[in-house]
Symmetry: C4
């Protein structure tokens, strides 16, 4: 199997995992930067992640033009992916999700912050990006590269950004990292909501703990144990 | 396959999708207006949606009289469907649901309003209809065409109406639209409850955003991506 | 099939339904009064409801003595069933459950009251029985017929009684009715918790509505639509 | 089957049960003390519990050195197990979990206390251990035997200890007991959160009730009914 074929296979598994773990539903998507052309990325044609197979994966320029199979319908919101790859050389994979447990933090003032060690990729506090601030009333979709670039500015140097009334986007140094980040952003949001409702002060992770965990994640970027497990749950055989 | 057979097939898929996505359970139903006789609608005999097959679909007059297979037991609450079709020429499909996540908004003062872009069909604020206002103490079922007409007045020009102590009804310009609306009303209710509990001000969709989304939905009335996904999850092959 | 065999078959289906719908888990049980000997009841040997088959069903006297296959281990808490049958000639089936959604109402002052039409069997307000009031510190199990009789007094003339720190018991005029009651007590508890958290006044069913629904349930005691659906979900073929 | 083979088989079943019941996910683990060498314990190599089979089980010294198949990767956090076995001769099985329903009680002041009879193994009030108190900023993992010993001190004479921002650990007098404790700690946490949100005073189990239940559990240490049920749900045939 060529390197590209292996990456496409991993991207298909990532689609299935994120669907099975409740991060992606009918909508939402996951992409990976092209291994030999850093100015391209791989992303499914317009199809729900649970159903994506190798033949659905297309190549796009960072501006969102399909470079292969140009007659297939692309995701309207592919610009989320292109704009993040454009602005962040360290990022090699992107997820866009509407997970219900995360959505509340995009529409209230209470910030989403990490309380569980596995969710440290969120950083100290997840920024909220609101398309309305710069583009006024829209359908809330990131439909142009300019909107994508504005979102990428909202993401800044972090790995997760909330999108008001819409969902969140996550960026990873590897495909497996962004899958892990997305799964645990959701878990952390649920735990934090439950904790806040108990009342009183909540103990967030300290900045020191977050930094140590981010460094740890960079070293263990394959997350073999979780990847094998999530693949099996999604009915896929984990890639070696 | 005749046009009617195709519509019946889609209606069966809609039954299965709504059961699988937690919108309908033992009770609740979904109908579609007859394609060539606008004064008739198609609806299952009295059977739980998850089990409905093509042979369960009956034809009804808007007054709720079965026009085919008159010996089958109909749903008591078929009048919800007839009355909505009677009052709204733009509506071609109706859902009646008891989804638990939506029920709380029918029994408290807090209004159900859209906070997620996919739920814009709810309009600015979902009206609450209470059968008791006009009919006093009842079994809460919409058992007569008069009760159905009162409910249709409660729905007004919108697409969703809450029913106090009972559930909600949704109306769509197409069958696929009403399925999407019903799935996302439920998600929006869950997200809004979670957001309100975090305290502080909640950012609802603006009226401009709602209008733009409703116009978008009218154009993309097939919702192919979601329909293919939901059909597959419900164990059905999506119709073309 | 003899009448008794038919009833045993229904009781097995009821076990499977209540397990599948989240009313019963490892523990909990469901019984039915003997059709020709009103001073006996049918109940599984000590086995989790999801696994109960026809050969697990034993006959008991109202005092809790096994009348068949006396060497099988019975449920410790069979006295819940015997005591309810003893005190209420109108009751023909009993469920004992630890459903997590219902448990909170047994340990706080907020009463469990019906807010959804399908849950009217709860009556105006579900009583809470606390074994500690009469028996002091125990293992909380209803292990003697005296404890069962005290619980039956707590149930009174109603159909549902909460048990502090333990669960609830439900009584039905038919087996199918007690299954329906148990499923919807759980749903009503979830909806009411969600509604109360939204704040402000909650609209409960009126006493008139409750009375009308109870009369309706008595007439439609077979609940064919729901029974067929729940049976299918639990992997069983519904009895005719 | 030798005694050791039987114990390994039970440990595999325990892994599958805890995964299926939502106590363990990609991470977390369960161990058992060696039946004939009390200074050793049995624990899977680094693998998600849902996927663990008999050939994944390794033997460790209490200090965490693998005594068999030394080339396999062990869990980093195996020291939780060794330190608890070292400090508590009465303990024969240990679970380490990140169950989301339990996590909130590790990051707020509200104590986790038992409100349901099946959760009495928690004792009167579950202690919270914070790795930061003694070790400052870390990755929050229990990576050394010293950290494990500090956690074991946090556990004290009880059976459950919360770990701030991380999860919980549970200890059992038998493997089946620790499985039951872990399943019901989670249920109790969910019920208590729901009850606290209803407001007003919550009725916890009394110390007398807790003591009676703990004595009862010691006698019925096989928990045959629950073990058969959980095994079946996890797709395993229960051990005799």
């Amino acid at each position: 199997m060529s390197e590209l074929d292996g990456i496409i296979r991993d991207l298909v598994i990532a689609n299935r995992i994120l669907a099975h773990e409740g991060v992606l539903d009918a909508y939402g998507h996951v992409s990976v930067r092209h291994p030999s052309h850093p100015d391209r990325y791989l992303l499914s044609r317009s199809r729900s992640p649970e159903l994506v197979g190798p033949h659905d994966i297309l190549e796009f320029s960072l501006e969102g033009d399909a470079l292969t199979r140009k007659h297939d319908t692309p995701y309207t919101e592919r610009h989320i992916h292109g704009a993040v790859y454009e602005s962040r050389a360290d990022i090699h994979a992107v997820v866009h999700s509407h997970a219900p447990d995360v959505l509340p933090f995009g529409i209230v003032k209470t910030p989403l912050r990490p309380v569980v060690h596995v969710a440290s990729a969120m950083g100290g506090k997840v920024p909220v990006w609101d398309i309305r601030e710069r583009f006024g009333d829209t359908d809330l979709l990131v439909s142009t590269i300019e909107q994508g670039r504005d979102l990428a500015r909202g993401l800044g140097e972090g790995y997760v950004v909330l999108m008001r009334g819409h969902g969140f986007s996550a960026a990873g140094r590897t495909l497996r990292e962004v899958v892990k980040t997305s799964v645990y952003v959701r878990l952390n949001a649920r735990v934090l909501m439950d904790a806040l409702r108990l009342g009183g002060e909540v103990q967030y992770l300290s900045q020191g703990e977050i930094d140590i965990r981010l460094a740890l994640d960079a070293k263990s970027a394959r997350f073999d144990r979780a990847w094998e497990y999530w693949s099996a749950r999604a009915g896929m055989r984990a890639s070696e």
